[in-house]
């Protein structure tokens, strides 16, 4: 599996660390809504198909990336910096 880091270019998956479901929304820091915190800390989507994920290019520039990956085919549909900004589309 190759992941195209917007900064470093296409790199082998071995350079990346999976950081899980990218759909989770962290409640406002002061929120006391335990259900929302519980969902954020423990619930993970697990679709068979396109999935928004966070990966860190831990063996490279160390950026966290938002990666849209098909969990069935392992096709990477797009990658972008989690901080926002540059985005790559790899589906042609």
């Amino acid at each position: 599996m190759l992941i195209t880091c917007p900064y470093c270019g296409p790199r082998d998956v071995i350079e990346f660390t999976y950081q899980g479901d990218g759909n989770r929304e962290r409640p406002q820091p002061a929120s006391q809504n335990l259900d929302a915190w519980n969902a954020y800390v423990y619930d993970r989507l697990n679709p068979a198909g396109d999935h928004n994920e966070i990966w860190q290019h831990s063996g490279g520039c160390r950026s966290h990336l938002r990666v849209v990956r098909n969990t069935v085919t392992h096709e990477i549909l797009s990658t972008s910096f989690a901080r926002g900004g540059h985005k790559t589309e790899s589906r042609s």
């Binding site: 599996m1 950081q19 335990l34 954020y40 860190q56 950026s63």
Partner: protein, 997 residues
């Protein structure tokens, strides 16, 4: 010249004789021979004993799918088992031995298993060896008892126990087009793609490119197909953009068009050239893959179909045409399709007598009738073989009238004298890689075969792989695939012209002849047609269950021969069509792969070693080192004759009495910089950092999102927007990742940069009543007195000319200072401190003394912050700010995390004055025979020189409430039981008067 070797023909070099041994006996062959062809030429018929029944077995195939003739190749100390003799190229001095026989291949006592054949049917082991319901050998224990003997009696080759001294290599390759298989389709594809300028890799698992062209005997472009293939290979070899990989099995098709291949670089050589590895593992990333992997001929299932001398028809043709070896003098063929007629013609041409062609079909085309008569073979249409005769070699066979529609046998049995029976049960495309790539194969009722699925990755099929079994189709499809893969336009230029006898590619749907006797489906695992039916009668309906119960297709050949016949018999038993029974998905590897090739250069201890700048000094000064993660740290600096306990007690005592110094360079250090650095730390730590003055440090605690304690350490404010965070040695990487995650994903608006500077700073902690005096004697550029350097203060100065940063903080509980310098000067500063300490009796101390002093002080480390404890459990709730939210603040007060019965940090004193052990349990009632009701466990322990007692830290239910009470340590594993007193974790100087000075 041996009797079976033809006078001419084949690509062997008759002028070069090669000597080798098989089972200790010397043989000769020719350059170009495989072990199989050379032994066959020597008249050898017996190659192995079968897996379960120890039946004599000969060659079934000529290629990679060979299930019977598995050998072990011995090379020096190294033995490699289970290699098909068909894939071993002979070289001078080759030593090969047969497998699964005791004492010898010809006389095998395991063959007695055949007498009990009925007993050894499918599931026999499971049924028989599950053991009684009660007693010492109940259930699977009985199986475990018997397994040893069963494994000896049934099985394949033995793996070696000597270390593999061979060298392996790993290569990454990139190409536009990877062509797998080098028959006419693969060669055309490679040529077409190369002519388009694409970077091409052509891989074939055989030693010689050409595939079926090497033995088809057809004519292509007016020349022998084998010569045409060699000309194509020569043209390809002249291209800079083509890499040819013979002896290379592409065995895995993974995501993103990444394929794994194994190149056998020197297995065929007597002596490897300098620098050559034994095998090379290729990871190939291909733009497009052309799968031209051909097809496998299927055996027919009939009684005695495993007798030595019964062989696949094309295999015999291959031996004759490619190696100049005849499998027999009187050959009979048994077929359900046209391809065997071409084999008959080729064998006749090579000099064999073809006595009969037995065809299950009643209706035979005129072309095939002509081939039969040209071969002077008697054609028995509408007949089937019902038995074979002979022992370790075939002597004859019996045939009977057969109706292909009903499967019924009728009429008189007739005997035919033959020393070789060749069978053809149709052809199965080699779809393994396409199946691995991710889609289900589709059953084609005309071809009676599974055809490749629609691609889910970027591959294109060509030739027999797609079910197009003629060379003309292969050539056309190959060129089209190569052009498409290289992005070229389709071509209408003339194609090479093939001259071949046309034949019908579709076989009759006959897989089994039901007659009396053992009919083998899976030769390698000894699974018979009756075993498949038995499994069905016992209720196994899913093909996956059938496979596991009978072990059909689960041997090293992974069912390359048995897959379709097994399914067909299963389908018939179920009364369902084959596509409804389904096929199992093929998984990597396609053929066995040596573990050595996967490891390649990466073996032995692969961990990097992290050494502090003072490492050499520690070694030179008698330190015993031990590893802490990747780091090496001094454990003790033992004097002659000292035990570990004596050494750390001396070191700790000297520190508390005068001064000690310890290397703390391994602590994680992270530079946190930027306008929002203070705000960021407020969010990350449970306590406040924005209120911290520049030039001061503060102890901080981090929680995880779920509210449990994560890591602790001091963070130093070096400037308004600049902090130096320290973490525990073990968590340095995790904390860094944690910070990066929050900055990138959660709070991208914060203007903060975090940088790991662990390796940039060397650190020495110097503590004890004389620590300040020692510093004062060697530090220039700053005062270090209480006014200039109060508790938690930071100053900048120089030691021995080197800039240093000194922070007054204490882990040991003494007045202590951490001296940081650039890593390159770490040892220089360390030695200056040691020198300055000499008048004061400064001692270096190791981790044992460090641990002892921290236990005495009741400080926590990773042993207590173990991922299960909260700040409250560790009595760190004073650090939980109520003025701001922080990571973990919302979750830390959940019901279970504030329950009164949680384990809390306490101190323990051994009342029997004996050492305690980490992991020992604390109980209220001592019951050595039946320990029960643990209150908690010991996390750290030592002999305390300050108290003169054996003490420990522990996590105990009720914690503080038990201070001053008695309990017991219960450690049955180490047989350590005894009374303890539960006390506060602050054993020593609880009000901190020593460190505040």
């Amino acid at each position: 010249m041996s009797p079976r070797r033809t006078e001419t023909g084949g690509r062997i070099d008759r002028l070069r004789t090669i000597r080798f041994t098989f089972d200790g006996a010397p043989y000769t062959g020719h350059a170009g021979d495989t072990l199989a062809s050379a032994l066959l030429a020597n008249g050898v018929t017996l190659f192995g004993r079968s897996f379960k029944y120890h039946r004599p077995r000969g060659l079934l195939a000529a290629g990679v799918e060979e299930p019977n003739a598995l050998v072990t190749v011995l090379r020096g100390e190294v033995r490699e088992p289970n290699i098909p003799a068909t894939m071993v190229e002979i070289y001078d001095g080759l030593v090969a031995v047969s497998q699964n026989r005791t004492p010898s291949l010809a006389w095998d006592i395991g063959a007695l298993n055949q007498l009990g054949g009925k007993l050894l049917s499918a599931g026999f082991y499971y049924k028989t060896f599950m053991g009684p319901v009660i007693g010492p050998l109940k259930g699977t224990r009985f199986w475990m008892f018997c397994e040893h003997f069963i494994r000896r009696a049934a099985g394949l080759g033995k793996a070696g126990v000597a270390p593999d001294t061979s060298r392996y290599e790993r290569m990454n390759a990139f190409c536009d087009v990877l062509v797998v298989g080098s028959g006419p389709a693969g060669l055309m594809a490679a040529k077409a793609a190369a002519d388009q300028g694409a970077r091409v890799i052509l891989a074939d698992l055989e030693a010689h490119f050409g595939g079926s062209a090497n033995w088809s005997g057809e004519t292509i472009d007016g020349m022998l197909a084998a010569d045409w293939a060699q000309r194509m290979v020569a043209q390809l070899g002249g291209n800079d953009n083509v890499r040819l990989l013979p002896r290379t099995t592409v065995w895995g098709y993974y995501d993103g068009n990444t394929l794994a291949a194994l190149e056998r670089v020197t297995d065929h050589k007597e002596v490897a050239a300098k620098g050559e590895p034994r095998q090379r593992y290729w990871a190939i990333r291909a733009g497009t893959v052309v799968l031209a992997t051909g097809s496998f001929e299927r055996p027919l299932v009939f009684p005695g179909n495993d007798r030595p001398g019964v062989m696949l028809a094309h295999a015999a043709q291959r031996y004759a045409v490619e190696y100049g070896v005849l499998p027999g003098q009187r050959i009979a063929l048994f077929t359900n399709n046209d391809s065997a007629y071409r084999s008959a013609a080729a064998l006749k041409k090579a000099g064999a007598a073809v006595v009969a062609i037995i065809d299950v079909r009643g209706d035979i085309s005129n072309e095939m009738r002509r081939l039969a008569s040209d071969a002077e073979a008697e054609l028995l249409a509408g007949h089937a073989v019902i038995a074979t005769e002979g022992g370790k070699a075939l002597t004859g066979l019996k045939v009977q009238r057969f109706d292909a529609m009903s499967g019924a046998l009728s009429g008189d049995e007739r005997s035919i004298h033959a020393d070789s029976l060749l069978m053809s049960g149709g052809w199965s495309p080699t779809i393994h890689l396409a199946s691995q790539a991710g889609a289900k194969a589709e059953w084609d009722p005309a071809r009676q075969a599974f055809l490749p699925p629609k691609p889910t990755q970027r591959w294109i099929g060509a030739g027999a792989f797609t079910g197009s079994f003629s060379s003309a189709e292969a050539i056309a499809e190959g060129r089209a695939a190569g052009l498409q893969a290289a992005g070229g336009a389709a071509s209408s230029a003339p194609l090479p012209v093939v001259e071949a006898v046309p034949g019908d590619p579709d076989p009759a749907p006959v897989f089994e002849i039901k007659a009396k006797g053992k009919s083998f489906v899976d030769f390698q695992h000894d699974v018979t047609a009756e075993d498949v039916r038995l499994a069905h009668r016992e209720g196994f309906v899913s093909v996956e269950h059938l496979k596991r119960y009978t072990t059909l297709g689960m041997a090293t050949d992974q069912g390359k021969n048995s897959n379709v016949p097994g399914l067909a018999i299963m389908a018939e038993a179920l009364g369902k069509p084959i596509p409804e029974v389904g096929t199992t998905r093929f998984r990597p590897p396609y053929t066995a792969v040596s573990i050595g090739s996967l490891a390649a250069e990466r073996f032995g201890d692969l961990k990097p070693e992290r050494l502090t700048p003072m490492h050499d000094w520690h070694i030179a000064n008698g330190a015993t080192m031990y590893s802490a993660g990747l780091w090496f740290r001094p454990m003790i600096y033992g004097l002659a004759g000292e035990t570990v306990e004596q050494a750390y007690v001396r070191e700790a005592k000297a520190t508390r009495e005068s001064a000690g110094i310890v290397d703390v360079s391994t602590l994680g250090k992270i530079a946190v910089q930027g306008p929002d650095a203070a705000e960021f730390l407020d969010r990350v730590y449970t306590n406040m950092f924005s209120t911290l003055a520049v030039g001061k440090a503060r102890y901080g605690l981090m929680l995880r999102e779920d509210g449990l304690a994560f890591d602790d350490g001091t963070t130093w404010r070096l400037g308004e927007q600049e902090f130096l965070m320290t973490t525990t040695t073990a968590n340095a990487g995790k904390v860094m990742q944690h910070l990066e995650y929050f900055l990138d994903v959660i709070w991208p608006e914060l203007k903060v940069t975090v940088t790991s500077v662990t390796d940039e700073w060397a650190g020495a902690a110097i503590g004890g009543p004389n620590a300040r005096a020692i510093l004062a004697s060697c530090v220039t550029g700053t005062a270090v007195d209480n006014a200039a350097l109060p508790f938690m203060g930071i100053v900048h100065g120089r030691i021995a000319g080197v800039p240093v940063m000194i922070c007054r903080l204490s882990f040991s509980g003494e007045m202590a200072f951490e001296v940081y310098s650039g890593a390159g000067y770490g040892n220089h500063v360390w030695e200056a401190l040691i020198e300055a300490g000499k008048p004061f009796g400064l001692v270096p101390y190791g981790l044992e003394a460090l641990g002892t002093m921290r236990i005495e002080k009741g400080h926590v480390t990773g042993a207590e912050i173990d991922g299960r404890t909260t700040a409250r459990d560790l009595h760190l709730d004073w650090m939980l700010s109520k003025k701001k939210p922080f990571i973990g603040s919302a979750m830390m007060d959940r019901e279970g995390l504030i329950a009164p019965d949680r384990l809390e940090l306490v101190g323990l004193i051994a009342l029997d004055n004996r050492p305690l052990n980490g992991g020992g349990h604390i109980v209220e009632e001592l019951d050595e025979a039946n320990p029960h009701d643990s209150l908690g466990h010991i996390t750290a322990c030592c002999y305390s020189p300050a108290l003169g007692k054996y003490i420990a830290l522990a996590l105990v239910k009720g914690g503080k409430a038990r201070h001053g009470t008695r309990a017991f340590v219960s450690d049955p594993l180490r047989n350590r039981f005894g009374p303890v007193e539960i006390v506060s974790n602050h054993f020593y100087d609880p009000d901190g008067s020593r460190m505040h000075g």
